[in-house]
Symmetry: C2
Subunit: 305 residues, 2 copies
């Protein structure tokens, strides 16, 4: 089953010709989740084959423009495409006012319902759950209220125990019945309870998004053992004090969080426009955490467990 | 002296991978004027070499999102680049509220002054004038208050009359003095009044922007004899009734305005996303007005007198 992330924008506050501002799309079993929505995100989605109308949940980390300026355009396009499905928006409250003012001004009555869910930047909270995924928000340390998000796939694999299969002759039509939870009645009329013959394993994969944030070890419990961690890495070692002043991180600090949290993979991005080439940021991160991927616009990565 | 227009976005309300929403940049003697600012305009400017910080005047025709959703991102980038020069914004009043709310939410205090000039959609008005250009706004017929703009270059060429040059021996150092307005004193001490020996010719070029609008002949006086007319052409003949319902124009209607106004050249754009290829719109316009140019993103055209 699919679990991928596509980076639509790997740049920071000032977009460049090469890097748009922040926007990530998660594809969890063909359900699409948008995390942040910088300017141009919808155009980038069109280029990278993301089905806009299949996005039902949008998560906006904070209200610096490079994380949401593309949202109103995306909503407008969904409207023009006559979207009917409800859209869930997880954000800080001021965004509702901003969107509402823009819609009122253009006399637009959306064709779909927009449901707001407000974030709490004081503590970690479960903010969404369905049968495929659960999402937790947690506070980040930035200049204005900001949350990170952790997406955890809900997947439990059911297999008939190997030793049972070897010992019993199971008619082929019984396999789906057993896997769907039925007890098995053998040729002698003996009932084998489902829980005795089926093994249930949890194989959930997870993705955490931490942007924007200063270096902050208090987030480690929230991202502990995550399969893939995206952590902003706006600056190199050389600009560590600038990073600290602006409540951003260096790539080395991102790597330290990945290491301490025992993440599987680290993706770094949100690179300041001052770096024409992010190679230096990646190499500094890799000194701490080898399994680091440098984000670029259009990158799609499989999230492994 | 330069007078060009660059089309940054030739699409309509729904941007596509090929066509961004509306944004035009006029370069009048290296002074840059931005007309409308759809999403992604700043990124398009970077790609097409438009010097963002040299834009001192921005004109927003109306408050449908495809004409202004890129503005807040552009202002943010100007701010991040530490712009100091005052920026003039010509628009309808609600835009001030929208920008103000977004800046307040992100706790951004711009590094430059933003001066608003509100448009009047009841009558034509001179809204800007400097020594290079004058700008007139005029009402368009759209679903919400909308204005078109006409930019007229102020250029008066001064030449010493050819017959005077042939009759008199003018020392070379006198040429710039005469051209700057001085009377000429000849070798006999005779004073030749400047106005008798200099010919002043007006060679002004002009550009008019009409988007969005239904077909409306009342705009003809405002765009009469314009060197270059940009007129929206959202639809083809086939969708004329849709155009009318939505207060948009067909390309044939755009051409009729160009013809009746005696425009030099017509540019058509704001093509509905339903047309993968705008060729049909261009050929229908050319049946009425041969000198028609089909807009595309990145097109730069010289405005001729």
């Amino acid at each position: 089953m699919k679990f991928t992330v596509t980076i639509l924008g790997s740049g920071a506050a000032k977009p460049t010709g090469e890097r748009l501002s922040s926007a990530h799309v998660l594809n969890v079993h063909e359900h699409f989740f948008l995390i942040d929505c910088g300017e141009g995100a919808q155009i980038s989605m069109m280029k990278h084959g993301i089905p806009i109308q299949k996005i039902d949940h949008i998560f906006i980390s904070h209200l610096h423009g490079d994380h949401y300026f593309g949202l109103i355009g995306l909503l407008n396009t969904m409207h023009l495409l006559s979207r009917k499905n409800e859209l869930h928006l997880y954000c800080f409250p001021e965004l509702e006012k901003i969107i509402s003012l823009q819609l009122t001004t253009s006399e637009t009555q959306l064709t779909f319902k927009l449901k707001f869910h407000f974030l709490n930047n004081k503590k970690s909270e479960m903010i969404m759950e369905n049968k495929y995924v659960s999402v937790i928000s947690f506070p980040l340390k930035h200049r204005i209220p900001t949350c990170g998000f952790r997406f955890t796939e809900k997947k439990r694999s059911r297999n008939i125990k190997r030793e049972f299969v070897l010992q019993h002759k199971i008619p082929v039509e019984w396999f789906p019945r057993i896997l769907s939870g039925e007890d098995f009645i053998d040729e002698h009329g003996f009932i084998h309870k489902n829980e005795d013959i089926v093994r249930i394993q949890s194989v959930s994969r997870s993705y955490a998004y931490c942007s924007d944030t200063a270096f902050d070890e208090t987030i480690i419990p929230a991202v502990k053992d995550v399969s893939m961690l995206y952590h902003e890495a706006s600056f190199s070692d050389e600009h560590e004090s600038v990073a600290s002043q602006k409540f951003h991180s260096t790539s080395r600090q991102a790597a330290m969080i990945a290491m301490k949290a025992n993440a599987g993979t680290l993706i770094i991005g949100h690179f300041s426009a001052r770096y024409k080439n992010a190679g230096i940021l990646t190499s500094q991160a890799k000194e701490i955490f080898e399994n680091t991927i440098e984000a670029f616009d259009g990158l799609t990565v499989e999230v492994d467990s």
